[in-house]
Amino acid sequence: MRKIVGVASCPAGIAHTYMAAESIEKAAKRYGYEVKIETDGAGGVENRLTETDIEEADAVIVAADTVVEMDRFKGKKLLEVSVRDAIRNVDRIFEKIESGEIGIY
C-alpha cells in the first residue's frame, strides 16, 4: 500500500493542529494511502514519525504554521502547505500528490 506521512503544527497547538491531522488522515484513506501524521501541539509531539515511517513514505505533507524539524525529510517528495489548506483544501493537496508534481526536499 502506498504511504503518506506528515506533520501538523499550528501556533497554539490546541485546535487546528489536530483538525489538520484529521483532515489529512481522512483524505489519505479516501485516496487509498496508509497514513501517519505527527502532531506537534501544546501537549508535545504525539504520534512521532520514526525513521522507518519516513523511509516507507511515498510522500510527505508538512502542514505547519510553525517551525518543524525538516532535516529528517531530506530526499523525500515533500509538499509544504498551510494548516488552513490542510483543513479546507485537502483534496487539492492530494490531487497534487497524485499528479506527481511535487518536488524533492
Binding site: P11, M19, G44
Partner: protein
C-alpha cells in the same frame, strides 16, 4: 469543573461584530469563575488570531488561547442569527471558542480538546452544532468526548 456548561453556550443570538462576541465569551468565562482577567483573555485570543485567523470556511471559526488568565479549561459555543465579519476574507456564524490555562502543559484536557477539534470535521457532529435547539445535547456531545 466541567469543560462546558449551559452558561457558556449561546444559541441563535445576535452580536454586532467579532469584538462584541469575544467580549461576551470573556464575560461569561469571568462570571462562571473560569478566568481571572477579562482583558487578558481577550488580548490572548486576539494575539492568536493575529498569527493566523482561526476561521475555517463554512462560516465556522475556532478562536482559542493558551492564556495565563484561564483557571479552568473551557469551551464556549455561539451560533449567530446573522454572520459577522471574522477577518479580511471570511465571515463566521458558528463560533467555537477554546480557553486553556497556560500553565497546564500536559493535562488530560488537551487530549480531549484535540479529539473535539478532530470531531469538528465530522458531518454528523457539525450537524448537531448547527441545528440543535438543545443546550443539553451540545453538552452531551462535548462532555461525551473521551480521549
Amino acid at each position: 469543573m466541567n469543560i462546558v456548561s449551559e452558561e457558556l453556550l449561546f444559541l441563535d443570538i445576535n452580536v454586532k461584530d467579532k469584538r462584541e462576541l469575544i467580549e461576551m465569551f470573556s464575560e461569561a468565562l469571568f462570571q462562571s469563575g473560569r478566568i481571572s482577567d477579562r482583558e487578558q483573555f481577550i488580548d490572548d485570543i486576539y494575539e492568536r488570531e493575529s498569527i493566523v485567523p482561526t476561521s475555517l470556511g463554512d462560516l465556522l471559526a475556532i478562536p482559542h488561547a493558551l492564556s495565563s488568565s484561564v483557571a479552568a479549561t473551557s469551551i464556549l459555543y455561539a451560533r449567530l442569527i446573522d454572520d459577522i465579519r471574522w477577518n479580511d476574507e471570511e465571515n463566521a456564524k458558528y463560533i467555537f471558542c477554546i480557553a486553556v490555562p497556560k500553565a497546564n502543559k500536559d493535562n488530560v484536557h488537551l487530549k480531549i480538546l484535540s479529539t473535539i477539534a478532530r470531531n469538528l470535521l465530522d458531518d454528523e457532529y457539525r450537524k448537531v452544532l448547527l441545528t440543535t435547539k438543545s443546550k443539553e445535547e451540545i453538552i452531551e456531545l462535548i462532555a461525551g468526548t473521551s480521549c
